[in-house]
C-alpha cells in the first residue's frame, strides 16, 4: 500500500498534457490525495480555467499512473474552491517553464475589477533574457497563455499568464 508521499511522487511524474514541461502537481492542479484503509486513493484536483479542455485528459492520466503503481481503486474528484492561481507554481517549476520557452507568470493580480492598463513588470524573453518584449494578445494557444514577441531576438513566445 502506498503512503501519501509516494502517491505525490507518482503524481509528480504525470505531465500536464498542454504544458508537458511541468507536472500536474507542480502546476497546482492536484490539491490533495487521501489513501483509504484498503489502499484506494482519492485524488482531489482543481481546473486551471472553467473551460479547460485538458481536465478529462488529466483525470485519465492520473488514473493510469496510480493504477500502474498498483493502486486498487482510484477516484478523482474536482473542486473549484479555492480558485486555482498561478501563484501556486513554485520556483523550480517556473524555471522549467522558462527553459521550455514559456515565460513564467508574474504575481497574480489582486487589484480592482477593472484594470484597463497592465501594471505588471515587463515579461522577460525566455530565449534571450531581454526585457524588450511586446504583448501581442492576452489569449494564446491555450487558455492559460498569452502571446508576446521579443523585440531583441525577434522570437515570438508564450507567457503563462498570471491569474
Amino acid at each position: 500500500m502506498l503512503d501519501r508521499t509516494r502517491v505525490f511522487e507518482i503524481l509528480g511524474t504525470v505531465p500536464d498534457p498542454e504544458v508537458p514541461a511541468i507536472s500536474v502537481v507542480e502546476l497546482g492542479i492536484v490539491r490533495d490525495a487521501a489513501i483509504a484503509a484498503d489502499g484506494a486513493v482519492t485524488v482531489t484536483i482543481t481546473p486551471t480555467y472553467s473551460g479547460c479542455p485538458a481536465m478529462f485528459e488529466i483525470e485519465k492520466d492520473i488514473r493510469m499512473a496510480l493504477t500502474a503503481a498498483g493502486v486498487p481503486r482510484v477516484e478523482v474528484r474536482t473542486v473549484l474552491a479555492p480558485a486555482w492561481t498561478t501563484d501556486w507554481i513554485g520556483p523550480e517549476a517556473r524555471e522549467k517553464l522558462r527553459r521550455y520557452g514559456i515565460a513564467p507568470p508574474g504575481k497574480a493580480d489582486q487589484g480592482g475589477l477593472v484594470t484597463l492598463t497592465r501594471a505588471h513588470a515587463p515579461v522577460v524573453c525566455p530565449f534571450c533574457g531581454s526585457s524588450e518584449t511586446e504583448l501581442r494578445s492576452e489569449f494564446g494557444s491555450t487558455a492559460c497563455k498569452a502571446i508576446h514577441v521579443c523585440r531583441s531576438c525577434r522570437q515570438p513566445f508564450d507567457e503563462f499568464k498570471a491569474i
Binding site: 473551460g51 480558485a83 492561481t85 477593472v114 484597463l116 492576452e138 489569449f139 499568464k161
Partner: protein
Amino acid sequence: MTTPVGEEGGIAPGEATDVIGSRPVAAPRARTVDNALFEYLLRLGDDRLVLGHRMSEWTGHGPILEEDIATANIALDLIGQAASILRLAGEVEGAGRDEDALAYFREGVQFRNCLLVEQPKGDFGDTMVRQFLFDAHSVLIWDALARAGHGSLAAIAAKALKEDKYHLRHSSEWVVRLGDGTDESRARVQHSLDALWRYTGELFDHDAVDAAVAADGIAVDPSALRSRWDAIVNDVLARATLTRPADGTMQIGGRRGRHTEHLGHLLTTMQIVARSHPGATW
C-alpha cells in the same frame, strides 16, 4: 425491527412530495427558495452558454489570427462557466437533469438568457461592443456572488471572476481602439452601441426570483449593480470618444422565455448534434 412509516423508505401522510424528484421535501419554504435559485442559475448559466456560442461563431473567422484565438478562448471560458452553473442548477432542481440535458434538450421558451447575448454576432465591432457591455456587468455579478452566501455558487463565481477580468480588459481595449480609431471604425462602433443599448436595461431588471435569492443571501439584486456598471461603461466610452446613447425603451423578456427570433436559429445549430445522436460519446 420494522421501519416506521415516515422514516427512510416511507413518506409520512400529509408530507409534501416533490413529484419530479419523487422524494420527500422537508420544508415548503426550502422548496420555494430552491425554485427561485434554479431559475436564477438558469439565467446566469444561459447568459454564458448563449454568449459563448455566439463567440464561438468567430472561430476560424476572426479578422486577425490573434483575435481568432482570443474569441475562441473567451468562448471556451464562457461555456465552461455555463457548464458549472448549469450542473449546479440541475442539482438544485433535483430532477436528474445534468448540464448537457439543460443545454441541449430545452426549447427556446425555456431559455432564460437576456436578449443582449442572443443578438447575432454582426461585425467584429458589434461583437466587441456587446461583449464589453456584458463583461462590465459580469465582473460585478461574479464579484458579488463570490462573497455571497451560497458555497458552490461562490466557488464558481470566484473562479469565473478571474477569467472575466481578462475578458473585460480585452473588450474594453477593442471598444477604445475602434471608437478612438478611424472615422469609419468610430462610426461603425457608435452604430453598434446605439443598436445594442436597448438590450442593456434587462441586465438590471429584477423580479420575484431576484428578490427571493437576494433575501436568502445567495445573490444580489441586479438593480444594485447599476451605478458601478455606469462608472465602468462611462469611463471606457469616454476614452473611446463614443457617445453614450440615451436610455429609451428597453427590450426585455428573455428572463421569462420571451426571446427575439435569433435565439431559435442559434439553438438549432447548438443542439442538433446532441438531439440527432442522444447519448453519443466520443
